[in-house]
Point group: C2
Chain length 321, copies 2
């Protein structure tokens, strides 16, 4: 970016920043009382100083790196607090006017001032396009996340009334549950009504044959305390084959670190199963929105388990008669 | 808004608009080839002319009414095409630079030019805050709509595994279905396995006692052709009480106008009922997103109907034994 006059001005103003910060803070309170009139004036001045010095550093460097850091430090927080794109753009433009005000005193020659204005105009095209890009990008990614949640809930509800075999329905639902997290895996465990133990009945997302067969050998029981579930309940587990022994180390650690979680499946307060959902993304943990989504899908899973049990019983009765 | 110099400039430029339009169109193609390089140059010039003359009219009038009309004519369309807030802001700022370029030639005195720049700066603060407000408002309302859809789907799935009585579940689901549209009403009709006819079993949103009792008397049958359902199937209807006779005029007209709609409820390809959903909002019609949402909830309704039937049968068997 062209920054001949911007740099002159930036170098000077960084040394004498107080008056412009004071002015900018006053403007912020006047134009956006909603955000700035309710905080202490020195806090408001600190925000103004951060914004102004960010611009001045961009002026002297001739690039937008300080602006990028500024975004990374506060953009998500602002959005969460309810600050709109409009507010952010307005603050930038108020800042620009404060800068023009200070430049009127600094540039004694009108030609220098006009050259400065041209450079400033170009700079703010970049600032504003970058700003709006960032903020609308964040909004759009939230919109997209909600959209994905919707698709998964619709898919789950569609599955349970589809003409699929009841066991296929559970496999499809394991796939939907795995889809709630990045690089997700899911195993659905069903309660054995005779023993009260939990055995896997459907799974999705486990790449290797070894992993799949190891999971097949896994059993959970409600009496142990090796694994803590989402609802505070804890489970013991044992292995019914050699391969699943490897989970003795992996699974408790994954649950502890938060990359895997056990979710209770209930129907009318009766526990009918447990879903193990995990993500292979490094450092993954479940946020509240994902837990709520999984809870919603598990209601559908509970219904599907009920239907599968009813179908199994009908089959048995037919064979006995 | 202050528009002394803006007006002088606007009045002059509206008479000599071609050079600036040509320049602005060229800039649009250069800076946003994604949107402008793929259309014919005269089409691009028409877009540029619309934008520039909108600004000039604001200059001469001294208010933002032309900008408002501009938004109303194209904002939603742009957003649907995938144009981002960033793109819109950038186009506005490119337009500003084209205006500054033309003003350099127009204002012979530097003091006049500086006064013009100040007025232009103030004007663009308003333009950009209004623009970003509008566009982010549209994005946020879409985000909110998706959020509401999620809540309804979660609520429906929660209802069906709740400890409620099966008939209460259907009433709750009628409420959820009514919530998919503004000022919504919903009646769920169940298939009578003996006659094949459809009788109302749960409803929500009908204000008056008269209306409720009239609906209670309504029967649908799959053989008629008075009402067209969402899936192309049509239904006849008859009244089992005097009050419901009034629907003979109202319902077919509501379905024809699109403010009421009949949705098939199926489970594994078997039709188990019909949901009548309607909105009291003037001029309401169902959009695709709402139809998809209702379809998702109806899968849950189908499961609930199945459970209610099973519960009824169990009750009967218990009474017989």
């Amino acid at each position: 970016m062209k920054n001949k006059k911007l740099k002159e001005f930036g170098v000077y103003l960084l040394e004498n920043i107080d008056p412009i910060v004071e002015r900018h803070a006053g403007e912020l309170i006047k134009i956006q009382p909603r955000w700035f009139a309710c905080i202490r004036f020195d806090e408001c001045k600190a925000i103004a100083a951060y914004g102004v010095s960010m611009h001045l550093e961009c002026f002297t460097r001739g690039d937008l790196v300080p602006l990028d850091n500024y975004f990374n430090s506060c953009a998500e927080i602002k959005l969460d607090r309810g600050v709109g794109i409009r507010d952010v753009v307005e603050v930038a433009l108020i800042g620009k006017q404060s800068l023009i005000g200070a430049a009127t005193d600094f540039f004694k020659e009108q030609d220098d001032f006009l050259e400065f204005l041209q450079e400033l105009e170009d700079y703010f095209v970049q600032v504003l396009t970058l700003t709006t890009d960032r903020y609308s990008g964040m909004l759009l990614s939230r919109l997209n996340a909600e959209h994905v949640r919707n698709k998964l809930l619709l898919e789950a509800s569609r599955t349970v009334t589809s003409a699929l075999d009841p066991d296929e329905v559970l496999s499809r639902l394991a796939e939907v549950l795995a889809g709630t997290v990045g690089e997700g895996c899911c195993t659905i465990f069903l309660v054995n009504p005779e023993t009260g133990g939990l055995a896997p009945c459907a799974g999705f997302g486990y790449g290797s044959k070894e992993c799949q067969s190891a999971l097949q050998g896994l059993r959970l029981c409600a009496s142990g305390n090796t694994l803590s579930g989402e609802d505070g309940k804890s489970y013991g587990f044992c292995s019914s084959n050699k391969a699943s022994l490897s989970f003795a180390d992996i699974l408790p650690e994954a649950v502890r670190s938060g990359s895997a979680s056990l979710f209770h499946i209930t129907n009318s307060d009766r526990m009918v199963g447990v879903a193990l959902v995990s993500s292979d993304l490094p450092g993954f943990t479940f946020d509240d929105a994902t837990k709520e989504l999984i809870g919603g899908i598990l209601n559908t899973v509970a219904v599907a388990i009920e239907s599968a049990a009813a179908a199994r019983q009908t089959r048995r009765q037919l064979m006995e008669s």
